[in-house]
């Protein structure tokens, strides 16, 4: 048993740290740290910096412009980035579509699409969920009917994160309505500027239109944009989901959020003493800290197993559940730390350049919106209930 990284891995960690210290712009890390709104330009700026270094597509092999990292290196990079309050990489093109194309796409598709993901020409979004197909994704209804060199797509996707910025959407569509649910699905790439597409924003409970509905009416999609084989889309989707769930534990970003909470608890006082000295608050903090330390090791155990060639099974579900629970507990306690000052809601104050009078302690204003927004963590990426079904199916098998 040896919990330490190898000297090579330690050297890599130092390299990542030095890069972040040098290249992560302060105006971006400040926004992440204080829970301020990220603009499209912010996200593109960070992608650009990583791309220049060759570190944007950490999952991709070198021949496609990835860094060729090991699982452990990837994990070190993700943790260090999160702990330095780097913006999250927008996952749809880089972490989701990229690996699918590399494994199942044609050479032509890889050459046409991957470079444009790397250099930021194309912003991708994920068109899986539909109003009637959430946890039961295989029941999706959006149809694609072959007509010469095209598919004609009709239907609706929903919950499309940041679809308002997207140039392209990768969709699961039904190409064989007579086959069993999972067997009639195809994986199609659709230009968002195609005639017949309409995007409508969905405002979430924190007031942010972060997701969208996307409507398709007789949208013509060239057959060249079919990934892999027709009716094999479910296989590709499942492969993609394993990537969606990597770094799902979010240890690094939980550690960053927890450190922030701890410093808040040292600064804010209640009843004349720092919150950190309040026995109940201190107990809540300690429980999260212990959970987080346990999680970090669980995460490393899974990564070590993966590095030795083990296929992630129940482990990725486990990390998803525990990781999101811990993150949500941190946001709940952060909100609680501000007491009544979590209530004032001044959206302009969460934007850049706000120079109005602040209300309450620093960062009080982002605590409640972040808490409410992060309820999503246990809903998307396969809800935590669905993850428990997966685990129990594996172990009980009934």
């Amino acid at each position: 048993m040896d919990l330490r990284f190898t000297p090579e891995e330690e050297a890599f960690r130092d390299e990542v740290r030095a890069f972040l210290a040098d290249k992560l712009p302060a105006h971006l890390s400040r926004k992440v740290k204080h829970g301020l709104a990220m603009t499209k330009a912010d996200m593109e700026e960070w992608h650009g910096i990583l791309h220049a270094k060759g570190w944007l597509a950490s999952h991709w092999p070198e021949r496609h412009g990835g860094p060729g990292w090991t699982v452990v290196q990837r994990s070190i990079f993700e943790d260090e980035s999160a702990r330095a309050n780097a913006p999250r990489i927008v996952p749809f093109g880089v972490n989701m579509l990229g690996p699918v194309l590399i494994k199942y796409g044609s050479d032509e598709q890889c050459q046409r699409i991957l470079p444009r993901i790397l250099d930021g020409t194309d912003w991708w979004c994920q068109g899986y969920s539909e109003p009637g197909a959430g946890s039961d994704l295989a029941s999706l209804k959006t149809s694609a009917v072959r007509d010469g060199d095209h598919y004609v797509v009709n239907g609706q996707k929903t919950w499309t994160t940041l679809g308002q910025y997207a140039d392209w959407i990768f969709c699961l569509v039904r190409t064989d309505p007579t086959a069993k649910a999972q067997e009639g699905i195809s994986f199609l790439l659709i230009d968002m500027k195609s005639p017949g597409i309409e995007v409508r924003p969905i405002v979430l409970l924190d007031g942010d239109p972060e997701v969208n509905e996307v409507f398709f009416t007789d949208v013509r999609v060239p057959v060249a944009n079919l990934v892999g084989e027709e009716n094999k889309g479910w296989t590709y989707a499942k492969y993609l989901l394993t990537y969606e769930r990597t770094n799902i534990a979010g240890v690094g970003s939980s550690i960053a959020a927890f450190d922030r909470l701890k410093s808040i608890a040292g600064l804010l006082t209640r009843g004349g003493r720092p919150l950190a000295d309040d026995p109940l608050f201190a107990a809540r903090l300690a429980r999260i800290e212990i959970d987080l330390a346990n999680m970090a090791t669980t995460n490393m155990r899974v990564i070590a197993a993966a590095a030795n060639g083990g296929a992630p099974g129940a482990e990725s579900s486990m990390l998803k559940i525990k990781g999101t629970e811990i993150r949500q507990a941190i946001t709940a306690l952060t909100r609680r730390a501000y007491g009544p000052y979590a209530q004032p809601f001044i959206p302009e104050a969460l934007e850049d350049g706000y120079n109005g009078e602040p209300v309450g302690p620093e960062d009080a204003g982002s605590a409640a919106p972040t808490y409410f927004n992060y309820r999503k963590l246990s809903i998307f990426g396969g809800s935590n209930e669905v993850q428990k079904n997966i685990i129990s199916k594996m172990i009980v098998g009934l």
């Binding site: 959430g134 209530q343 004032p344």
Partner: protein, 364 residues
Amino acid sequence: MDFQHSEDRQMLADTLRRFLAERAPIEARNKAAYGETGYSPDVWRGLAELGVIGALFGEDVGGFGGGGFDIMVVFEEIGRALAVEPFLGTLMAGRALAVSGRTAELEEIIAGTTIVAFAHAEPQDRATGDPLATRATADGDSWVLNGAKAVVVQAEAADRLLVSAQTDAGPSLFLVPADAAGVQLHGYANVDGGRSAEVSLKDVRVEVSARVADDGTAAIAAAEAAGLLALSAEALGAMEIAKSATIDYLQTRKQFGVPIGKFQALQHRIATVLLEIEQARSAVINAADAFGGETADRALSAAKYTIGATGQLVAEEAIQLHGGIGMTWELPLSHYAKRITMIDGQLGDQDEHLQRYIALGRAA
């Protein structure tokens, strides 16, 4: 033993429920709650005409209720409708005025012609028993107030503010016209609807008669006790709606070819929600029953602790069991979840009340 509300109170609840359903359904509520004024003056006037404000005060001071169960009935309905009209401030300021014998001012409040906000909490934290940072000094025929008040609910709606301030003789309460020179309001929206304001007081000069309470400590305690009961009942009402909305959804939302309520994992979750809400109802009943008596403070802390802990459970479970749709602005449920959550932070959260409960138990 009888756990039915009296006929009068039941009637009051029914009337209030009908009125709010008709005049402040969720779309109208959201429009007002997240709009410029942060509440609907029309709805407020209508409720005053129905006598809802009078129900919060005893006959001795011009009302026709004022008992713990009157407050419970009214605020449970407010919670069910997510009403944002300035009831909390009215209740708290009114109760402070009532114990101080200021019936003339109270009459205007009960008639709905004057709105008074309760301005006691301050931006700076302080230890229990420490003096308020807001100071009042006697100067000839007047008092001069200086200081700041924090997150004063619906302060912008108020004609007057009932401001707590430290005098040489201890804490006291002052009735300050909202437009008095030196009073400044910095208003903002609340994340769960309605508006509040930071209030700053700079050399605010008021008449001697503006000092309403000789014993400010008792008047503030009376206001806070009523406020705790009201918030607990409001949370209870809101939790009931969140629960029924979730049950409806479990029965109608289909995935994998069946209503999701068929999944036993979810059945157990909603069962827990139900039993915890019943426990919370008992906590509020205990508090309403003890209200005004010697054991009131401990029962109030027990209730506020219970609804704080239960509230987080109910709000989080209601959203989770709805899936993505539960996070949308368009679904009324999300606004219930926000209100239920934020009530925990008002007048002391679950941890503060748990510790107060322990301290009061030791003292007894």
